[in-house]
Symmetry: D2
Subunit: 144 residues, 4 copies
């Protein structure tokens, strides 16, 4: 079943509902993860850098990179199929994650009845540029 | 080259040095990640549950699960080959991560000249039992 | 649900049934994949080297490495839960896959109602030794 | 270093050279993997269906899906940086791989000095349509 077909079968969940879900996650509030947009199988998250988010060399911690990619993928899936549970998340680290803020962009690659496959990229941003620092994908189970 | 061979070529790094590295990571201090043991290609981390670490349903956040597995794998590799940089981390989520504390156990599977392959499991623990909740692996580049 | 619990709920499938399934796969017959053992959440496959299985440098082709790991994982899962369908397979290549024959050993890590998580290693063997050349894992969906 | 920068440092390898490499791989000749195009960090492979390539249900075998994705990714990387060696390949299976022929499209996502990250999709094709059946990614080490 295509993402488009899924949308027909499910009440669409949009940016407002995803923002509400985001606020219920204590970790997301602590870290400062914000939902810029979430609809139609896509989600964009932003995170402002601060020191508590860093690993030993002062780059964004791999756990935070994973959290942003996993969360963006989960929200992208939720816009199409509602409640989901992650089975697997894999992240590749392309370059040191150094920036004033970070932007995660996720999209649904394939939405089926039982599983949703998603992919995401993470960019480190300053006022003047965006740089690709990581990419990944998740597999999610639909609620049954 | 086997892990054993690598150890001969590198000054061994043990629990005390890994604990010192762990303290230099702001994220690890905030989250409360502690090094129980790190030596000879193995590392064991612990994390006490608290609410800020949770996702929307109150389970340990996938980002924290990834952080524990990625960090444990990195420390296990560092005991054999010193400075490393993660290329990829993949995590499978077996069961809801609910517990009083969490224990990540990582080991080096293959240490080469340029790359180190590691694997880890994450357990949710109470006073009386440990339950496997996630597993994963990382690929790390050695410093050159 | 644990693997042990799953076994109680399903008629066990053993080596003979898995060998019969293996013979129905045209690719497995062509390649010469043989089932040494498959029962209780574990499977061991063997493959004799011949030139058609090689990549440009004469090592076992990555596709064959993946085929062995994916097939061993699928058979290990099938012994516990019957019919399965792979969602994802990931393989890490530790060393050049050169040998007279290859042995893949897979095991179920976690068997749930909807998903089965497995892991496997691939060894290159001669008459006198076995050498670890690759490792991987798969996620499988149960039939529903 | 960007893919563009890499291209400046390396003599570009194009479709003709990649086709020559493809012909030296015995497995690729047996399976019938053909190089439609390979240049500038991209590669397109095709494979005509025949029965020996099938698993037990008559779909393209997961090993062949992995072989196509891994090979396409390796060729895409080789067009930018020359000789490479795969560290990891991960494939997600979106739908049964049934078709008259299969088309794998790969691209370099990030080319560094030591590592190249790639991604690919696999399509099942008939005369009238193409359907996405699998997607994956590989991490490759550059020759040193």
């Amino acid at each position: 079943m295509t993402a488009a077909a899924e949308t027909r079968d499910n009440p669409t969940i949009g940016t407002d509902q995803i923002r509400a879900i985001n606020r219920t996650a204590a970790f997301n509030r602590w870290a400062g993860i914000e939902v810029e947009r979430a609809e139609s199988g896509e989600a964009v998250l932003t995170l402002r850098w601060r020191e508590e988010l860093g690993q030993y060399a002062g780059f964004l911690h791999a756990g935070m990179i994973g959290a942003l990619i996993d969360t963006a993928c989960g929200f992208a899936a939720a816009t199409l199929v509602g409640r989901v549970l992650a089975s697997n998340c894999q992240v590749s680290f392309f370059a040191p994650a150094v920036g004033e803020r970070f932007v995660a962009r996720a999209r649904v690659v394939k939405a089926g009845r039982r599983q949703v496959f998603t992919a995401a990229e993470l960019f480190a941003a300053t006022d003047t540029e965006e740089r690709l620092v990581a990419g990944g994908s998740t597999i999610l189970m639909t609620a049954q």
